[in-house]
Amino acid sequence: MKYGGIMRFLPLILIGFGITSLVYGIVIDEPQAVFDIAIRICLSCMGLE
């Protein structure tokens, strides 16, 4: 695939977007929300009712 100009930097732009989203998610304390979920046995994951 050939591309030039700013498109050559698309991977870096995408990585920047990802990191921004990740950092914002950390700042608003989403890891705690994930933690609150992940420390309990997820019956749904296991297929239990």
């Binding site: 930097f9 998610g25 979920i37 992940a38 046995i41 997820c42 994951c45 239990l48 009712e49």
Partner: protein
């Protein structure tokens, strides 16, 4: 030609991500602070050995029970995808590794019809959307539907080990678990007769990384002047890709088998913003 380095990376990643060994004996899951951290690959956080959270489970459960889209999980997998695309599937995912081990069984292998590969994009769309918009008739609550009704990794890594070791959970076994066990059994058969069927047909994370495969920083490049069109790369590709025509296809898991098989060393994995200058060289230079 086998890629021992990749197998070792897969093996140690699987061990590292599931190294809470007492959990397998006690029938309990790890509840320490590492569970805040999501891994970029499919690894059920209800596995007794799991030290980290699964991104597919987390993004759904935050949506179902928290009513919001998790930027933390999205940002994490987007960053990994933008750096390496489906390299994560090929080199890190423990469930992918398990499927590769199953594929080593000496049973006749079959190809997967290409059209079935589209199902995983539907799975990705529904995985993200459904917890926001659909109430589960079984519980009258939103649920992580992919985990609950589909994910065979959850049944294999969490359901079976916990039911074996934790007697309290056995009273909860019902029709849903029977369905998931049957579903897992079907997938185990498919894993034995074809290569990585779950990754190719149903994995929403594989679909997500696949969308970024063409645009990731680390990608496959071809030195056209060195390519003799012998087809060795396509023959070696375990994902049944026509490598030179489908360079960085959403299905490519970057296992490097094509690179190893090329007699002319025409294929290289490189950082994209550097490598594109070389692919544009005319053949006579």
């Amino acid at each position: 030609m086998k890629n021992i380095k990749r197998s070792l990376v897969q093996f140690f990643t699987a061990i590292f991500a599931n190294s809470n060994l007492p959990g397998f004996i006690q029938g309990r899951i790890y509840q320490g602070s590492l569970k805040q951290v999501c891994v970029p690959f499919l690894n059920c956080y209800s596995c007794p050995g799991a030290l980290f959270a699964c991104p597919v489970g987390s993004i759904q459960t935050v949506a179902a029970y928290g009513g919001r889209f998790s930027l933390y999980v999205f940002g994490l997998i987007f960053t990994f995808g933008a750096i390496a695309g489906r390299w994560i599937c090929g080199w890190l995912c423990p469930f992918g590794f398990f499927q590769e081990l199953m594929a080593k069984l000496s049973i006749k292998k079959y190809a997967i019809p290409r059209v079935l590969r589209l199902i995983k994009y539907l799975a990705l769309f529904l995985t993200v959307l459904l917890p926001f918009v659909w109430i589960d008739p079984l519980t009258n609550l939103a649920s992580p539907y992919f985990c609950k009704y589909i994910c065979p990794a959850g049944t294999l890594e969490a359901g079976i080990p916990l039911l074996v070791t934790n007697g309290d959970l056995r009273s909860l076994v019902g029709g849903l678990f029977a369905f998931k066990l049957l579903f897992l059994f079907v997938w185990l058969i498919l894993m034995a007769i074809t290569y990585r069927p779950f990754c190719r047909v149903l994995c929403p994370l594989g679909a997500f990384y696949g969308l970024l495969n063409k645009y990731s920083l680390y990608k496959l490049n071809i030195e056209k002047s060195h390519c003799s069109s012998c087809g060795s790369c396509s023959i070696a590709c375990p994902m049944n890709l026509q490598v030179t025509e489908e360079l960085n296809s959403p299905e490519c898991i970057r296992c490097l088998q094509c690179k190893k098989s090329c007699p002319n060393h025409a294929l290289e994995y490189k950082v994209a913003i550097v490598a594109d200058q070389r692919t544009s060289l005319p053949a006579n230079q």
